[in-house]
């Protein structure tokens, strides 16, 4: 039998949950992105979604190109909640969704602390350079430099909402 004389180090997971919830409830917008996302933060998800969609390409060829380019993203992200999303939150209906809000997904604290909504502009900046807009994100992706490629991917994601 093991002696019990020495203090056993402890952590209470339930206490951790309390701290976790408290932390989640007192979210603060990251200063680094406040300025570039102020509009997105004040508009409703529906307003952003509708406003943004007007400017996205609707050419089927561009959307098809976006679908093919999305295969890079697809190794981590599903676009259908009924399919497994192996290393990222699902992206069904991502436009207009609150950042860091897919229930049950283990976001790092950086995304958990955001209040903004995924607008076209914010998605574009994130796909361009994830760690510039959200330093500390766990997304293992260096970013897409080509603007037209990014637009095609976002147009593809938007097209899924109207299918």
């Amino acid at each position: 039998m093991l002696a019990r004389s020495k203090r056993l180090a402890k952590v209470s997971v339930c206490a951790v949950i309390v701290a976790f919830l408290q932390n989640a409830c007192s979210r603060e917008t990251d200063n680094a992105i406040t300025s570039i996302n102020s509009t997105s933060d004040t508009n409703t998800a529906a307003e952003i979604s509708n406003e943004d969609r007007k400017d996205l390409p609707s050419d089927p060829h561009i959307i098809e190109r976006g679908r093919r380019l999305f295969s890079s993203c697809g190794v981590c992200h599903s676009v259908n909640t009924s399919l497994p999303s192996s290393a990222g939150p699902h992206l069904q209906g991502v436009l207009g969704r609150t950042v860091g809000s897919v229930q049950g997904f283990p976001y790092t604290s950086v995304l958990m602390q955001q209040n903004g909504v995924w607008s076209v502009a914010r998605l574009d900046q994130f796909i361009k350079n994830p760690r510039e807009i959200y330093p500390g994100t766990s997304m293992a992706f260096g970013g897409i430099a080509d603007e037209s490629d990014r637009r095609a991917i976002i147009a593809y994601l938007a097209s899924l909402d109207t299918d």
């Binding site: 002696a3 019990r4 952590v11 997971v13 339930c14 206490a15 976790f20 604290s109 293992a140 490629d149």
Partner: protein, 481 residues
């Protein structure tokens, strides 16, 4: 202070149904997973061991320690388990974006496959329709597969000719003390000392660049030859072990998950470790969201280049810090590609500084076209997220390739790996034991610390078993004292 309780399984399911759909779903799940069927040594619900990293090393260590009754929590920064293995889907197919190949000459991972009922999935490496060697200047030579095989095997045998005398006991790599005298020899220096023709040098340099993850003038010659010794000093077996067999039925990620499931350890995803304090009789780990996790001991299984991102309050030994700062260099990545046209069963080695060091057919048919996998030792030579750049590179080898889909994974831009597979810089092979050495209540695993297959999954499993043994002995002594 709240304490965990070992609820019965029905209670846990109910708890999950009602509670998991909250922002704290994952943490709640962690409660539910808590070790219900083990003969847990201590009933007052603290953790004995915190393991940082849920790759093969961390999962194995968790399983080993939990099996001995220690209460274990695993912290993983990523939103998934597996570390530098990652099984995903590409056009409906199972793909391996990180460590992939396994073999029965790799004893630790093979034992895990046997334990959990995994078999081998074959990659069509042999019976090639065509083989190519791209020279350093980008010129592509179409070589008959039989000639390719003959030239490469001959070159490889020459490169590794001293393997048996250098490594008579591969798991005790410095058993032959003359090895220390060879520490300063690079793979490039050794390669160019051999009597090889242009195609042999190009193909072998491509292979070595893959392992180095850097120009091979920086790569430890002897560390590579050790891997050859582990494959029974045999070229066919070595190639078969590195490029021919994957894990079936869910792949590497499913095997890691099976090990973790068996451990019944608490697993926390999205848990980014920021600071570590060794109190002498316990260890505190502060996460990025401010949470504090405390246990008696801690095992770190991180890729070497990630250690600088963690503040070890008491510091690390200067030897370990030197290893972290200097020993590793892997700049690697993988990419899957699909072409609409059937290119057949092909293999290509591309000499440095071409970015795709090896391009291998994984599947081919008139209906599918071709699924190719390229492995890069130096991802910084190309923007893998540029479809056009990838297409242009592939067309250098296959000019008529009609590329439609790509799926890259860049291990260097992954903030929780910052490097691909372990590889030792010239002069640093013998220092791997510094990285493995325990410090206070802290223990260290990870493939880079393995005696055996250090660039492989097998090395990660080996290191997890070793670190778990060390932590177990320490805790046994501590609790008995």
């Amino acid at each position: 202070m709240h304490k965990l309780s070992n609820r019965d399984p029905l209670d846990r399911r109910l708890f999950l149904k009602t509670g998991a759909a909250t922002a704290a779903g994952l943490a709640l799940t962690s409660c539910a997973d808590e070790n219900p069927d083990r003969n847990v040594r201590d009933k007052d619900n603290g953790y004995h061991v915190v393991i940082v990293g849920a790759g093969f090393a961390g999962a194995t260590a968790a399983r080993e320690l939990a099996a001995k009754g220690w209460r274990v929590i695993v912290l993983e920064a990523r939103p998934r388990v597996g570390g530098r293995v990652f099984t995903s889907q590409f056009l409906g197919r199972q793909i391996e974006l990180g460590g992939s190949s396994v073999h029965w000459v790799q004893p630790h991972v093979f034992a895990e496959m046997q334990r959990y009922g995994f078999g081998f999935a074959e990659v069509p490496l042999y019976d090639l329709d065509a083989s190519y060697i791209m020279l350093g200047d980008g010129t592509v030579k179409n070589i008959a597969p039989s000639t390719f095989d003959e030239k490469y095997t001959s070159a490889f045998n020459k490169f590794c000719a001293d393997s048996r005398s250098l490594f008579p006991k591969p798991y005790d790599p410095f058993f032959n003390e003359t090895l220390h005298k060879l520490e300063s020899i690079s793979a490039e220096e050794h390669l160019l000392s051999l009597d090889l023709d242009e195609l042999q040098i190009a193909s072998l340099r491509a292979e070595l660049t893959l392992y180095a993850g850097a120009p091979i003038s920086e790569f430890s010659y002897t560390s590579f030859v050790k891997l050859f010794a582990l494959a029974s000093w045999d070229t066919f077996t070595f190639t078969d072990s590195e490029k021919h067999w994957h894990i079936d039925s869910g792949g590497t990620s499913a095997l890691v998950q099976a090990i973790l499931d068996d451990s019944r350890a608490t697993v926390r995803l999205g848990a980014v470790v920021q600071e570590v304090t060794d109190h002498g009789d316990s260890v505190s780990i502060k996460l990025s969201d401010g949470e504090l996790v405390t246990a008696s001991t801690a095992i770190f299984t991180l890729p070497t280049k990630v250690y600088p991102d963690i503040n070890f309050k008491s510091g690390l030994s200067k030897e370990k810090q030197a290893f972290i700062d200097n020993a590793e260099m892997s700049d690697g990545a993988n990419i899957y590609m699909r072409t609409t046209n059937n290119l057949g069963n092909t293999f290509c080695f591309c000499d440095d500084p071409n970015p795709f060091n090896a391009v291998q057919t994984e599947e081919f048919s008139d209906e599918t076209g071709t699924i190719l996998k390229a492995t890069l030792g130096r991802q910084s030579l190309i923007d893998l997220n540029s479809f056009d750049a990838v297409a242009a590179e592939l067309r250098k080898i296959h000019p008529n390739a009609e590329l439609t889909d790509v799926a890259p994974y860049n291990w260097v831009t992954d903030p929780y790996s910052k490097q691909a597979w372990p590889s030792y810089r010239v002069g640093w092979f013998s220092k791997y034991k510094d990285m493995a050495k325990p410090e206070g209540q802290l223990f260290f695993a990870g493939a880079a610390t393995a005696d055996g297959w250090h660039e492989y999954i097998d090395g990660a499993v080996e290191s997890g078993i070793r670190a778990a043994r060390e932590a177990h002995l320490r805790m046994e002594k501590s609790y008995a004292g």
